[in-house]
């Protein structure tokens, strides 16, 4: 960096280092607006508010509309009745009818007024003709003085043939009051809604930022290289909890893979260098010291053997890596393990007999499961290989397959040296070799491969003490759904639980 020309340096610096520092305050200032939780809460509030307003408005419209229509109908009917009285009994008949109505008007809500052509009151419960009412047969809503109270009324005027004028109406003070009450109620409701919306937004935001914020900080720490961080879980089984669990599972797997890579590179440094070094030394020594062709040939053959061993290790390593990458799950199919086990038992029985080992095998009629035949074949073969390799001459090797509703277990036991309990968890790591196995041929990858295959099938390999010897148990689930389906199932059950509570 020091050698860079001055002109380039500032550009470089703005490009690389200070950017996050500049960006950070901006992010913080806009956090509230950009927060998904706030947006979510605001949107939720808006939808809620709009539906409330629509509901209230329609309630108000139908209630008030109904009342005002009822008033209008009553005024019309009243007016028509009075005109009928006029037609049969003239003015006196009408006055009589008006008098009766005014008397039988208990709550003073009906309004009547009859004036002569000069505008003088003939009869009625109103002091004077309201100024606003100018046309006949039109419905007016006007403020009036009624019994010395200011009030509101709906009024309709009728012109009579002899020049008199009739006013029929209803006091609508109650309607006006109702309108006011409804309006006030709506304003309060709106205010309360805004308040609740804000509180709701804050609660939702708190919920979100607690759950998602933790995920963010964790993943950020992971991205920076701290693979030990995990998302905090609340074990409620809700969607956030499931997401946290899924992320943790993912991180566990990543950590395992990373560990694997680290282990492998260490192991390559140690376990592959040794045979390569041995082959190299042998060849070099032969080239400089061999005196005849036979000696040379033996050295070369031995070196070739060492290199073949290296190739075998490489192939096993690559195969494990391939399996761990999960690439081979495409070959999964519905299979029956029984013929596979029967064939392998027959295949290895010969090797056991050769060494005087008692070998017996038992299996049920059918071992149906979902899996990859080639992989499982190899896993069982590796376990049998080990058992026969480590059983002493004249020893005993058992193979027993069992199944229950969920899983298939394949037990393979020998009475060899076994693996000390302290080492059993490490035994499935790559290049692990038990003390007792130091002098036997092998790559130290057999059990690692079995473990990888078991994991590919969502199963596992269990190592127990066989008193004496080793009991290796390959546990395989019979039903092997795709992980996504499993997760979907769990999400569904979580939602189901929630709806029951709700």
């Amino acid at each position: 960096m020091a050698d860079l020309p001055d002109s380039d340096a500032p550009e470089d610096r703005t490009e690389l280092a200070p950017r996050p520092l500049e960006a950070e305050p901006v992010v913080r200032r806009r956090t509230v607006l950009r927060s998904a939780s706030v947006r979510f809460a605001v949107l939720y509030g808006l939808v809620f508010g709009i539906s409330t307003i629509v509901l209230a408005a329609s309630l108000r419209y139908t209630t008030l509309g109904l009342l005002s229509r009822q008033t209008e109908v009553a005024i019309r009917a009243d007016g028509a009745g009075l005109l009928n009285h006029y037609r049969t009994g003239g003015i006196p008949g009408m006055v009589l009818a008006l008098r009766n109505r005014i008397r039988e008007n208990p709550d003073d809500s009906a309004i009547y007024l009859l004036v002569d052509p000069l505008g003088n009151r003939v009869i009625g419960n109103m002091s004077g003709w309201p100024q606003a009412v100018k046309q006949d047969n039109v419905l007016y809503s006007v403020p009036i003085e009624h019994f010395h109270k200011s009030s509101a009324a709906q009024l309709r005027a009728y012109a009579l043939p002899d020049g008199d004028q009739l006013l029929v109406g209803r006091d609508i003070e109650m309607q006006v009051k109702l309108r006011r009450i409804l309006r006030d109620a709506m304003i309060w409701a709106l205010a309360a809604m805004v308040g609740l919306g804000v509180v709701g937004a804050l609660v939702v935001r708190g919920l979100f930022s607690r759950s998602i914020g933790d995920i963010t900080t964790t993943t950020r720490a992971i991205a920076r290289g701290d693979l030990s961080k995990r998302v905090r879980r609340d074990y409620t089984g809700d969607e956030f909890d499931i997401m946290a669990e899924t992320i943790n599972d993912m991180l566990d797997r990543i950590a395992r893979l990373m560990d694997g890579v680290r282990q492998v590179s260490n192991a390559i440094a140690h376990d592959l260098r040794t045979p390569i070094a041995r082959a190299r030394t042998r060849l070099e020594f032969a080239a400089s010291h061999s005196t005849d062709a036979d000696e040379l040939r033996i050295a070369i053959e031995r070196a070739t053997g060492e290199l073949d061993g290296v190739v075998r290790v490489f192939q096993a390593l690559l195969r494990i890596a391939e399996i761990e990458a999960g690439a081979r799950r495409s070959a999964f199919a519905a299979i029956n393990l029984t013929p596979v086990i029967a064939d392998l038992a027959e295949f290895y029985e010969a090797a056991a007999e050769e060494r005087g080992i008692t070998f017996d095998a038992s299996w049920p009629d059918a071992l149906n499961m979902i899996g990859d035949v080639d992989m499982l074949q190899q896993a069982i073969a590796n376990l049998l290989d080990n058992a026969i390799k480590f059983a002493p001459d004249g020893g005993v090797v058992h193979l027993a397959a069992r199944r229950d509703a969920e899983s298939i277990e394949i037990h393979i036991t020998d009475n060899g040296p076994g693996i000390p309990e302290a080492d059993r968890t490490r035994a499935t790591e790559r290049f692990y070799r038990a003390e007792a196995a130091r002098n036997t041929p092998g790559t130290g990858l057999g059990l690692a491969l079995v473990a990888a295959i078991a994991q590919l099938h969502n199963g596992r390999i269990r190592l127990d003490d066989n008193h004496p010897g080793l009991r290796a148990v390959l546990v395989l689930p019979r039903d092997n759904p795709k992980p996504s389906a499993k997760l979907r199932e769990r999400l569904l059950s979580a939602t189901r639980r929630k709806s029951v509570v709700a």
Partner: protein, 227 residues
């Protein structure tokens, strides 16, 4: 036999060509896909050894696909550094007859190529195999040597059948593993040798001459002993 080697790595090619010539075969060698396709399509070979990754715009897979599209059924053995299961499947799907991963043992390559080339001759379905005084009836599943009936387990029968079909050729342990058991892994123990020696007990031990021979550093061969 006439064998085409399409391989761009000079060392590997030189070693393969030399070895095959020493084994008595006639070899054509090209180091790129274009020439390889031209030769394979225009001349007759008993077998082709084909690298997957080749210079010249046409890789091994394309070459083979083009060849198969022209109804050319010459047996092809892939020789590739691409050793993953998927690569192998791809190679066989493209029309390859066998697949070997580098690095390889020459004995294994020779045995497999010879097996392929002979299979390409297409003897048609047979019901009877004969090697010296050893007879196998594929219909009645009976085996006789010098007129004497030999009892074999089903798997021993298949092992012997495979050896008899490849009589006079070297058959490697891997070939037996794949051809007789359909296993594609490498057993750590010497199981194959045990199975072969059991078979030997039945077909050779009671008789004067040996038919089933061990070939050092390579495998086994079933043949009539030279007098």
């Amino acid at each position: 036999m006439r064998i085409l080697v399409v391989e761009d790595d000079k060392d590997v090619a030189g070693f393969v060509v030399k070895g095959l010539r020493e084994a008595g075969h006639t070899i054509e060698h090209v180091d790129n896909g274009r020439d390889g396709l031209f030769l394979a399509a225009s001349e007759n070979f008993d077998a082709i050894i084909l690298d997957r990754m080749l210079p010249g715009g046409i890789d091994g897979l394309r070459l083979l696909e083009t060849l198969r599209a022209q109804d050319n059924a010459t047996p092809v053995l892939f020789l590739s550094a691409l050793g993953q299961v998927d690569d192998r499947v791809k190679g066989l799907k493209a029309g390859g007859d066998d697949y070997m991963t580098k690095p390889f043992a020459f004995a294994e390559l020779l045995a497999r190529v010879e097996a392929l080339a002979r299979r390409g001759k297409g003897e048609g379905p047979t019901t009877r195999l004969m090697v010296g005084d050893l007879e196998m009836d594929l219909l009645s599943r009976g085996v006789k040597r010098a007129g004497q009936k030999i009892d074999l387990q089903p798997r021993e029968f298949r092992l012997l059948e495979y050896l008899m079909r490849h009589a006079g050729q070297v058959v490697t342990r891997t070939m037996l593993l794949e051809g007789v058991w359909d296993y594609h892994f490498d057993p750590q123990t010497n199981v194959i040798d045990v199975h072969v020696s059991r078979l030997r007990q039945k077909i050779d031990k009671p008789f004067e001459s040996t038919l089933l021979h061990t070939v050092r550093n390579a495998g086994y061969m079933l043949r009539v002993e030279e007098p």
